[in-house]
């Protein structure tokens, strides 16, 4: 991305090359570690990481979508780039993931604002370019002077399938002539995960020595801070209702559909049951054949055929096959496998 203005650099600091930018500004990383005058940038970087990890919005110095004064730009860009360096040195995935997501959400807000203020003729708007570079989505504005944009259906599907909210289903969108119509807010939201993965890739790929003088202490502090994010889980010995139903159908000697058998087989394998304990469940099926059952289970496991190891289908897929019998215990899970191990 070339020729970024000051506003853009502050709003989208991840577009800058960390090492090069600092060099261009006449600084080395060691200076940030040792010079007391530069300590405020390191502190701001740590604050940025901590806010992100806790899910607290980072308070930027940008006002009304523009930088407030000359001091704002370095603070915004340096603190971001130093955060990238600190995270790389810390190497803790939880912090990196949370920071990337928080920064993506921050950038998303600016993308939305930039799209909204875009005029009909402004086809080269930076927001449009960023979205294209990150996600290969070509966003166009409708002719009418309103907050309405459109993208090709195929591009929309590639990005929206990762959302679980019903409003993102294609059926709940305005679709016309191969395009999906969206507001600036929705367009920006659509690329959040691309923004986030771009930022995390940036962190993983940045070149740093194993430690920088003066960074040792903040890195240790961040590592200790990250410990609060370990998640307690509870393990249930119960099967989810969809699996219970599938087993009941088979126990009654009734026919369980192909999808139902696939669900049962992949689920039980997914929770670690060996094939010789799964196969007897199918004994009551009207068309039971031991040899075929063993072959099919081995196929699911990836021991035969293409070697593909099949995974338990998502709750959404289970629902679409009329095999879902969800109860309140299923709240918050998106795959039957998660039923056994739920966060508390």
């Amino acid at each position: 991305m070339k020729n970024l203005g000051q506003d853009e650099m502050a709003k989208y600091p991840f577009l800058a090359d960390a090492g090069q930018y600092l060099k261009d500004q006449g600084f080395t990383l060691e200076q940030f570690g040792s010079d007391p005058d530069l300590k405020l940038f390191v502190d701001k970087a740590i604050h940025r990481i901590r806010s992100a990890a806790k899910g607290i919005p980072y308070k930027s110095d940008i006002m009304d979508n523009e930088i407030r004064d000359d001091a704002t730009l370095p603070k915004e860009v340096f603190s971001f780039l130093l955060a990238v360096i600190l995270l790389k040195l810390t190497g803790i995935n939880t912090l990196i993931r949370r920071f990337s997501l928080a920064e993506a959400r921050r950038a998303e807000e600016y993308l939305q604002k930039d799209l909204k203020k875009m005029s009909d003729e402004d086809k080269d708007e930076l927001a449009i370019k960023i979205i294209y570079d990150l996600s290969s989505i070509t966003v166009k504005k409708t002719d009418k002077n309103e907050d309405k944009f459109f993208i090709p259906v195929s591009d929309y599907l590639v990005h929206s399938v990762h959302f679980h909210e019903k409003e993102w289903k294609l059926i709940n969108r305005h679709v016309e002539k191969g395009n999906v119509f969206l507001t600036s807010h929705q367009v920006a939201r659509l690329v959040r995960s691309e923004l986030s993965s771009f930022i995390s890739k940036k962190i993983f790929s940045v070149n740093t020595p194993s430690m920088i003088i003066g960074f040792q202490k903040p890195v240790e502090e961040l590592a200790s801070f990250a410990k609060i994010f370990s998640v307690p889980t509870m393990v249930s010995t119960e099967y989810p209702p969809c699996i219970k139903h599938a087993i009941e159908v088979l126990e009654k000697g009734e026919n369980l559909s192909h999808s139902g058998r696939f669900l049962l087989g992949t689920y039980l394998m997914g929770v670690g049951k060996p094939i010789d304990q799964i196969a007897p469940l199918f004994k009551n099926a009207p068309d039971y054949n031991e040899k075929i059952t063993m072959y099919q289970l081995n196929h699911l496991k990836g021991s035969s055929g293409s070697g593909t190891k099949y995974k338990c289908p998502s709750c959404e897929r289970v629902k679409s096959k009329d095999l879902c019998f969800a109860t309140s215990d299923c709240d918050g899970i998106i795959n039957p496998i998660q039923f056994k191990k739920k966060r508390v």
Binding site: V161, K169, L170, H174, V175, E176, K177, P286, S306, S320
Partner: protein
């Protein structure tokens, strides 16, 4: 299939592939596709590469397959195992089958065959003779089934062309050779989509997972101004027409719905019920599959002995005569088919386990359906 039946059917199939090879043009980009076939009483042979019409002809004549398939997917190495094929893209494919349409007429032309004792009887859950639950459902398609399946194809075509902007020339419609239609979409913007994305397209086409808010009905404080218009494009307009009836009735209908205390739920139920009326009844498993080997156009369907044929004029096509290519040589058969059927404008049956002499296409039809065999 019994030995003497097999001989008759294989000879007829071989003759078809010999006489009507012109009906099986090798698909475009055949070099990148995987072919497969099944033999009568045999398993599936997959991961086959066929490069030319000559190779296809040789495969058909030497193997006399019961069914022939070709992938919707394109690969760098179509003949290698699935994990090594290197998938590039796949045509969008749709299967519309009369058996999935819940038609009332099905009762009249469906029977059961007991897998334990072989008894054929009218549609029920258990065998009338030995009470076994291991039964096979046998259905013979009727004109109504085909006509209703055609309506689904028209609905699908409208969505493909108008909502998804797929060009008419890239949509090919085929009679499946048995109970419905196969629709192939080639060279579209959707070629690269994976299974999950195709699943979303399926939900869109089937009108599944729709929210009242999409049509302007809010859960709290619904407003008249937020409702979509009847002449809006896509599902918004299409569904609104069904919900409100007409432009003149729209205003009154909205007033009624927003003044109801449980208007949101009522609207939601209306949409749910509408799914079965306006949603296109495609087989989701077919469309989401990007590695499927799908029946090859022009090949015979072993469930009926009829061909998968291109429908240039869907309205006019009559598969019971247009897709029936087996000759009419007189053939003796023991027919056990309690249902009347029509082929090449001639009515046959019902037959109560009786010896009859039929044209070969009708005899093959009954054998393929498992409702007759050579005496």
């Amino acid at each position: 299939m019994l030995e003497q039946d097999l001989q008759l059917v294989e000879t007829a199939f071989k003759k078809y592939y010999f006489d009507h090879f012109d009906l099986l043009p090798i698909p475009e980009r055949a070099l990148e596709r995987e072919f497969g076939y099944q033999k009568f009483n045999g398993g599936m042979n997959r991961h086959i590469s066929i490069k030319s019409n000559e190779e296809l002809r040789l495969m058909l004549i030497t193997n006399i397959p019961s069914d022939v398939y070709c992938s919707n997917g394109y690969y760098s190495f179509p003949n290698l195992p699935m994990s090594e094929k290197d998938w590039k893209e796949a045509d969008l494919i749709f299967d519309i089958d009369a058996k999935d349409l819940n038609l009332d007429c099905r009762q009249e032309h469906t029977c059961i065959k007991c897998l334990a004792c072989g008894k054929i009887s009218s549609l029920q859950l258990t065998c009338t003779s030995c009470k076994s639950t291991k039964i096979e459902i046998k259905s013979l398609t009727c004109k109504n089934c085909i006509s209703r399946a055609k309506q689904e194809v028209f609905k699908l075509r409208e969505i493909l062309e108008e909502d998804l902007a797929i060009k008419k020339e890239n949509i090919q419609i085929y009679f499946s050779g048995n109970e419905g239609f196969h629709i192939h979409v080639t060279n579209s913007l959707y070629q690269q989509l994976g299974s999950r994305e195709r699943n979303e397209l399926v939900d869109y086409i089937m009108f599944r997972g729709v929210m009242p808010e999409t049509f302007g009905m809010k859960k709290y404080k619904p407003e008249r101004s937020s409702f979509v218009n009847i002449d809006d494009k896509g599902w918004r307009g299409r569904a609104s027409k069904h919900i409100f009836g007409s432009k003149s009735k729209r205003s009154k209908a909205i007033t009624e719905i927003i003044s109801e205390p449980d208007g949101y739920t009522i609207f939601q139920n209306k949409l749910e019920n509408l799914k079965d009326v306006i949603g296109v009844k495609i087989d989701p498993n077919v469309t989401i599959d990007i590695h499927r080997i799908f029946r090859l156009p022009g090949s015979l369907n072993s469930k009926s002995g009829m061909s998968k044929i291109l429908c240039e004029n869907l309205e006019k096509i009559n598969p019971f005569s247009d897709a029936c290519f087996i000759d009419d040589e007189k053939t003796d058969i023991l027919a056990n088919c309690p249902i009347e059927f029509t082929l090449k404008n001639e009515k046959f049956g019902p037959y109560n386990n009786e010896k009859v002499t039929l044209p070969k296409y009708a005899a093959i039809y009954l054998i393929c359906k498992g409702l007759g065999n050579i005496t």
